[in-house]
């Protein structure tokens, strides 16, 4: 009996307590830039696609909702021919971002992704790619990698010697 009265009293007291909830969507909460929401594909400092279609994000994804196919441009870059994320499956875990060796795939604080039709949650590359570099400005994978692409021959990457002259016998 006593405990029931206490319970009623406590519930009653809550009527006058300060509110924890906000009036979403009129009022938006602050989400830090590291918050894990809608995924984007970013570009490198030169404005080229960062993604090299290495498939690491896809394999890291625990729900297997990323699929892509590698192709190679005439300029020697690897690039996804298509890149698809099925957001109706995505759990925003951020493992793809962790796995990405080029900072191409990044999660953004945009969490407002509701649709009436699941099909509308299937994003292709053109929906995912943004114009900027996202959270990691300044990094360009091809400046570090050993393969040559148009505009960067062998020996021109960061910390690389000029190519060896195989015919040279000098020590």
């Amino acid at each position: 009996m006593w405990s029931q009265l206490v319970t009623i009293w406590r519930v009653f007291r809550h009527l006058f307590a300060a509110r924890d909830t906000v009036r979403y969507p009129e009022q938006k909460p602050y989400l830090s830039p590291r918050y894990r929401g809608r995924i984007v594909l970013t570009r490198d400092p030169d404005g080229d696609e960062r993604c090299v279609a290495c498939n690491l994000c896809a394999v890291a994804c625990p729900v297997d909702c990323i699929s892509l196919q590698k192709t190679e441009d005439d300029d020697g870059r690897w690039r996804p021919a298509f890149f698809r994320i099925n957001f109706s499956r995505c759990i925003m875990c951020g493992l793809c971002e962790e796995a990405c060796p080029t900072y191409a795939i990044q999660l953004t604080p945009d969490v407002e992704m509701s649709e009436y039709d699941r099909n509308s949650l299937v994003y292709e590359k053109e929906h995912l790619t943004i114009d900027g570099q996202g959270k990691y400005p300044g990094y360009s994978f091809y400046r570090k990698a050993g393969i040559s692409i148009k505009g960067k021959a062998k020996g021109e990457a960061d910390q690389e010697e000029k190519p060896v002259d195989v015919r040279n016998l000098l020590p």
Binding site: C65, S67, F82, R118, G146, S148, G155, E161
Partner: protein
Amino acid sequence: MIKIFIDGQDYKVIEGQNLLQACLSLKLNLPYFCWHPSMGSVGACRQCAVTRYEDEDDRQGKIIIACMTPVEEGMRVSVKQSQESEFREQIIAAMMTHHPHDCPVCAEGGECHLQDMTVMTGHYARQFKGRKTSFNNQYLGPLLKHEMNRCITCYRCVRFYRDYAGGEDLSAQASKNHVYFGRQTDGVLQSEFAGNLAEVCPTGVFTDKPFGNHYSRKWDMQAAPSVCQHCSVGCNTSLSERYGSVRRVTNRFNAHLNGYFLCDRGRYGFDFVNSPQRCQQIRSSNKPAQWQDDSLQRVLSAPGRWIGIGSSQASLEDNFALQQLVGKDNFCPDLDDKQQSLMQLHGEILQQYPMASLAEIERADAVLILGEDINCSAPRMALAIRQALLNKARDKVETLNVPGWQDAAVRNVLPDNPVPLIWFGYGESELQSSAQLQLLCDDHQAARQGFALAGLLCGHNVGVEVSEAQQQTRQAAGILQKASRPLLIGGWSAGNPALLAALANLRKALGEKASMAIAAPEHNSLGLSVLMQKGHLSAASLEQSIDREPVNLLVLDYKSQSWRTRMASLMEKAKQTVRLGLLGNESAEEALLPVAAFSECSGSAVNYQGRVQYWQPASKASGDCLPGWQWLVHLAKIQQKSLAEVEDLGQLRQRLMADYPQLEGAWENDPRQQAIAQQPPRYSGRTAMLANQTVHEPKPYAEPQAPYRQSMEGGEPRHSETHAQPYSWWPGWNSNQSMHKFQQEYRGPELEQQHSTVAFAHFQSPGWFKWRNQWSGSKHRGYRLLFLGQVFGSDGLSLEAPAIAELCERAQLWMRQDQADGLGLKPGQWVQCDGLPLWLQVGISKQVPQNCLLAYVPADEALPFKVCEHFDVADLPQAEALEKQYRSHLDDLKTNMQMRQARLLHQDEFIPIRFVEGVN
């Protein structure tokens, strides 16, 4: 078996091995790079270091290189202590100082032995702050990509390419950290085994180029155990698929056949399954049609005699279903009577003697090659013969107490300890040039000498007078008599059954010590030999019946121009023709039913040894395609034949076994066993790859009762004892080096029994083959044409693979210098034979017998002559026009390749598959 102690634990290992091999056979994880089970040890990479202790009380020990140390009774070593682990980590660290930051854009990534070993040793951060060495790459042809920065100088590539496969144009150049593995200049790698470098090289220096162009990671590919379709060896392969298209072929270890290596025709030829020429649609009178169409049904149910024409490029099941449908007397296995008699004879020989597997070939200590260019007709067999040539040198080093796996030692004594190789025949090839004893002769002569040689060996005449024997034949008799494991090699490429008979006689004369291998042209030529045992229709009587009465033809597709020409003339006379087509849409048949390729349905073939091997589908059929036997069952329903009762492949095989009891047990399928998952455990993208078409993930597709499932669900392949591995993988071993986890041990000293069923019952008591009159050459005017093959060009199916088509040579005609002078021809000129429109380029060779010329014609051209009298030489404008034509052909190939690439990429995005439940 001897006892050794590893990390204090005692193990039993086989004597004569090296320590690395022993550890791997015990399934211990010991990193290594340069050692290869088929190539022995050279100790180049220092990665396999372990500590050896003098005795139980020795706490310090010293570091030794496992791959260079033979196991000894009571030996004590450790592989897990800190001292050797740190040593190994430092080796990797040193290799990594100059390694490029390439993994994400490296086609080796995800199946890279270097990645695996780096993780295994625990090395993770580069200490080196200097600049990295860089190298320029080379263009190495359409098959391999070169990215030299990634090399760790393990020397495996040159050891394989030069020492193992006999190639000459790849070498190690420069010194210290400038060592470079490549050619002198850019250019196509010449060896037909070059493609193996993609698997042999533990890094991404050499990678599979066509695969790289349409790339997928290993973990993403659905794989299936398969069998090569490009020659009669039937090498075991693994096919990989992604997004509905087949991406590549890799080697699947088979201790008895291919071991660790394939030839390039097998590795790259599979691409015909992605060809735009593939039949995808039912056609009736050269127009797209539906199965229910009246016109089509009328054709298929036509009354009158139906004659079936089998194909050695189709599976045993398809051919059997055809034989069942039309009846054995209406089943014509081949349009060429010569081929039919070879089929029959090869079958007869198999009933008398078993044929050597490639592993047995590698054990020979004397080799006779009789009238066969084995380098072209069965490339992998030629590679095995090349290994046999080391046996004397191996024996020699063993008498000096050096183990046979000390590769450098063996190669050192090789020049003084050759295995005798005897070559009777014509044409230049790798094996011909390494032969010790040669007799230049045409196929008739080779066969007669073979008969005479058999006579010399057994002491009485066998069909041919012993006195006919030439000097070389007498020498050969001495060599073969002395040898303890002589090997006899022959084949069908000369088209002469007498050669096969000669080999069988030689085998009988030499007795049990000898072994024999005869190469057939197609992967299922021997399957037709099996079916022929029940009777068949010869090509000659086929023509007669066509002339006599109106017949309906039911044809299994065969890809070669000479077949097409023959078929076309038959079709004109036949009432109507129904083709079960694989390739080529435009043609004149009344009905075309598209069949599924070997990558899309199960099937089996019989290899040169008569062994039944079967494959599993890696992908699904698209369009209207059905397996050939299924079309035939549908036809049987229309025509009300008993074949109509067959419901699935299992039932068809039951019937096959009932008719040919020796096939009993060829297809082991225990329905209680869990089906094997064909997709690797980290297969990605399942919930996205079809999402643009439907967000409802379809149920995985499975053939009913199939032992494999195209899904991630099912038994783990690596835990299955009975099923062939779809792909090779083990935790920590993502590369194909994981193979050792599945074998009892790497090609041990004793070879276990081959398990596959032999399709030929041994029942005849071996008798001598008599010389038959039709085998003697007839008199002719002019030159006899002897046909030669090429690895890239003679096989019609593989020519549909763009990479192989690029390497295919144009038709050629070889002659000796004196013949050329007599004819007034010069090398490089283009000639026509007796007015036939085909142009052949003149080449000069010493290996041309009297009164003969050697001709090579690619499979997409036909030269229907056996003799030729006069030649027309192309004049300058004609020659120029030919060159122009060839250049535009190459350009076409390039455009086709781009179009194909675009089509495949589109197909990846919109996967065109039927049978996925819930889609379409």
